[in-house]
Symmetry: C2
Subunit: 190 residues, 2 copies
DNA sequence: AATATAAATGAATATTTATTCACTTATAAA
DNA sequence: TTTATAAGTGAATAAATATTCATTTATATT
């Protein structure tokens, strides 16, 4: 018998992300996904029960990937600023290099497909960062304000950088990394 | 003859925004809009040629509204920091009080409906702010880095605050305003 | 090599959603 | 009042899109 092609699912996910980039979740049709993935529409239904489970599957995949990307090379035992910069840069680089995933996650959050439990699970991804920020406050290195707002400050800026890098065809040079990190750091340092 | 009800279009826009908030542009159907606006689906087509022109019309309306909201009480002749804080707060308050508009604009930008010319027109809304930032640099009050990144820094943070205020049911108290502005200001000041 | 099994196909069908239209209702103008 | 005109209605139709299925194709197993 013929075995399932283990490349199909990633292929389908990639095609879906490409369409999201081009015209948002609103623009996704199963025929378009199939065409982009160079397979027949019927094949989609071998790998997914329906459109919803394709999108939910992709969302979970994106969430999992980003979680591992954000904390690459991060040593929780190292100095605060080193760890903070590592995570800051990881998130930024990840969101730039996986830009479609970022767009998809963002749109999925306000789509008819997401469920409440999923939202909660995604919040947990940032737990190690939340802990680090608490440490920074304990060591009096950063402002003693609610971590919620410190996290808001940091991630809001990162997201916007990633978007503008893409929409305005910029390149993330070390200089641009540095100046943007400086803005963020000067904001939070005590 | 019967005259056109001048409340219908705002009513339809409001209904559409409410649906966007609930389930994104992907979730909008003409029947749902009609139901939410408490009119017949056919009536939608008296005021709009089709779904696309409804959405485009709403987008233009949102863009126009926000432009006027952002620069309320702003005196280009006043001190830099005063002007900067005024605009910062205006944008933040506007995005919180017109949250659905913000979501809609954001999603519309990566939807099948937007056109390139529209994107360009929207960029111009921020021109007065760009000028103010240039002045701040000339007066050596803020860091001498590309205004593009200063604007990215500022708006990214504001957007994220607005989103989190809504998604986590926070309230924008004067204290929260202040601490968030402080984060932003400490980031950009020279 | 032959067989069995599941993948893959894409046209056909089902479902959803946009749009139309014959009809009713309201109201400015005569 | 009466009339003419356009708004308003919602069921009917058209169009788009999701899903199925009869058929073909590939390949592990025997």
């Amino acid at each position: 018998m013929k075995l399932r092609d283990e490349n199909k699912v990633p292929q389908i996910y990639q095609a879906t992300l490409k369409l999201v980039r081009a015209s948002g979740i609103a623009g996704i049709t199963m025929q378009a996904v199939a065409k982009e993935a160079k397979i027949a529409t019927g094949t989609l239904y071998i790998y997914f029960n329906n459109k919803e489970s394709l999108l939910v599957g992709l969302f979970n995949e994106c969430a999992k990937n980003s979680a591992s990307g954000f904390f690459r090379n991060y040593d929780p035992g190292g100095p605060f600023k080193t760890g903070f910069r590592t995570i800051w840069l990881n998130i930024l680089q990840y969101r730039i290099s996986h830009f479609e995933e970022m767009l998809f996650i963002e749109q999925f959050f306000t789509s008819p497909y997401i469920e409440e439990a999923t939202k909660m699970a995604v919040k947990k991804i940032f737990d190690p960062l939340r802990e680090l920020i608490q440490r920074g406050k304990d060591e009096h290195l950063i402002k003693d304000i609610d971590s919620f707002w410190l996290l808001t400050f940091m991630t809001g800026n990162i997201n916007e950088i990633a978007k503008r890098i893409h929409y305005f065809n910029k390149k993330l040079t070390p200089e641009i990394e540095d100046l943007n990190f400086q803005l963020c750091w000067d904001g939070i340092k005590s």
